[in-house]
Symmetry: C2
Subunit: 327 residues, 2 copies
């Protein structure tokens, strides 16, 4: 099942729709739940109804199906939520970005996930411009995978935690590299350096991933393009910590409310042929390999796109496509 | 005007009520907005109606007024919201807690506010137990003042920012001191060490503070009691950064959505006669003055209460009263 949110003048939560597997048609579902946020909050009572329409839609038998002709009608699949706990589960990424700012990885690198709480009160739409206040902020993208949870009780184990995953997403964790060193030096972690992010247009249930969802990880590459050119196709299967471990970490001292989003951190592979999912990594590799950085951070007019396809080459989550604009 | 939220089986946002200035009666207001969160999201269109009932209530002329007989019917005034950006605006507190963990304050201590994003998807009710997973976590309270905002545009100045404040609160920012050093050493700031917090039962508009609200600061002491005994009465006027500065810091690279909560950080005064608003400070002072720490962190059964009174001795926000329980 694939779910999305139409942009709405009525609600900042958007309007819930069910989307066909091929992303060509959708069915309105606000009679089942007004928004995806509210659907997740009462998942067990709405899942069956949503699934029924989804099956009809995929069979071409849903009479009120509407054609998707403009991706801009869709907001981020979950336009806003209560908690976004963003992990950093790809060790290769941590090593590279720490090297870039001459910082040591923590001693617990391989045993305790790094995690921070990120902006979730307003996600950018998947095709919404990325505002740039100042070019010195070093605007970067970060391609990630994420999961949306049902209510998770405090103290859940990593294995139990996987049972609370309801939906999967990809996302662009916009990062302002120029602001990170000073902010982290203060000791309180990221805030200004991690502004509003964009989620993909469609959130999907596990069955849409099929065998690619195993061991708590999504075994598929994320296609990332910068200005229409190949930038990366790193496979999300190389997560060191799987999603159950990230959820258990987040839930150690609190319940996680329904709708919580857990992010993987920037997808990153050891194999350099896979490219990167953020500019910071590419710049660090240039510094290491060539002795100088050649790739700048994003400037106004630059675009980034992110998409994940299944083994048949079909888009799973729809496309994130964003342009940087000066504000 | 004073606003609160009845606990509700219908909504995690609670049910909006208007409370009389003397905290003795309340009026249901769900016909104006279902919840305080939703009222803040359309403040300009509901403020007048709420104010009208508030005036009637305070004049003893609201026919459907209900008596307040049990503080436990109230949730935190805002049971959940999209963003809680918690500053640390009392420099004395920063210096003391950093000393306690042998960490240096940042070089920008006096010029750039420290701020982190905190749990806001589910606040504890004002009289809800504080769960303790393990005594080694070092359960502490932190007494703070906070402001609830209308939508704030990115890039707002500190002076402009004050205009977006709609409501004032006090809160208990529960902190797990035993988890902080390892977490901060990782470089990503607080997460597990900052679990669910409690807000006061009633949020109030600026007129309820009268002359105590000036220069972007609340000029009143916060009464803090531990196990029914005096613990602190530090005055919130000693904020180094005022609320406009904290808001401007938070809004530097993002819009702040309506309902955003900005916290002051632990209220702390230079004068030791004012006591403290958290255990960590008292412990550090004991170490400095007596060479050894005598006050333990909270154990199951310990209680903390917080209340702020106006110059006539009347409670402004109602009372936070919480007990630690082992879970």
């Amino acid at each position: 099942m694939k779910l999305g949110s139409l942009k709405s003048n009525q609600s900042l939560d958007g309007e819930l729709v069910i989307v066909s597997r091929d992303l060509k048609t959708f069915a309105r579902a606000k009679h089942i739940a007004p928004s995806l946020r509210e659907a997740v909050e009462k998942w067990s009572s709405v899942e069956g109804e949503l699934k029924k329409i989804s099956d009809q839609l995929n069979a071409g038998q849903f009479a009120a199906a509407e054609k998707i002709t403009d991706e801009k009608v869709f907001h981020s699949c979950l336009p806003r939520t209560w908690l976004f706990a963003d992990g950093s589960a790809f060790i290769h990424h941590i090593r590279l970005v720490r090297k870039a700012r001459n910082a040591e990885p923590p001693e617990t690198l391989l045993t305790v996930p790094l995690m921070y709480q990120a902006e979730s009160g307003r996600f950018l739409a998947p095709t919404e411009d990325i505002p740039q206040v100042d070019i010195s902020h070093g605007t970067d993208f970060e391609g990630e995978v994420g999961v949306i949870l049902d209510h998770v009780p405090m103290g859940v184990t990593a294995e139990q935690a996987l049972k609370y995953i309801r939906l999967f997403v990809i996302l662009n964790d916009v990062s302002l590299r120029g602001l990170i060193p000073a902010e982290l030096a203060g000791g309180f972690g990221f805030f200004q350096s991690k502004p509003a992010k964009a989620l993909c247009p469609f959130a999907v249930t596990a069955d849409e991933l099929g065998e690619a969802w195993k061991d708590g990880r999504i075994h598929l590459p994320l296609d990332v393009q910068l200005n229409g050119q190949f930038f990366g196709k790193a496979n999300a299967k190389e997560m060191h910590f799987h999603f159950g471990q990230l959820i258990a970490h987040a839930a150690k001292t609190r319940d996680l409310v329904a709708g919580t989003l857990i992010g993987s951190g920037t997808i990153s592979n050891e194999d350099p042929a896979m490219g990167s999912s953020c500019l910071a990594e590419k710049r660090t590799l240039e510094q290491i390999n060539n002795g100088k950085i050649e790739t700048p951070f994003m400037k106004p007019g630059d675009t980034v796109s992110m998409e994940m396809k299944n083994t048949k080459g079909e888009s799973i989550f729809g496309r994130i496509f964003q342009k940087v604009v000066k504000v």
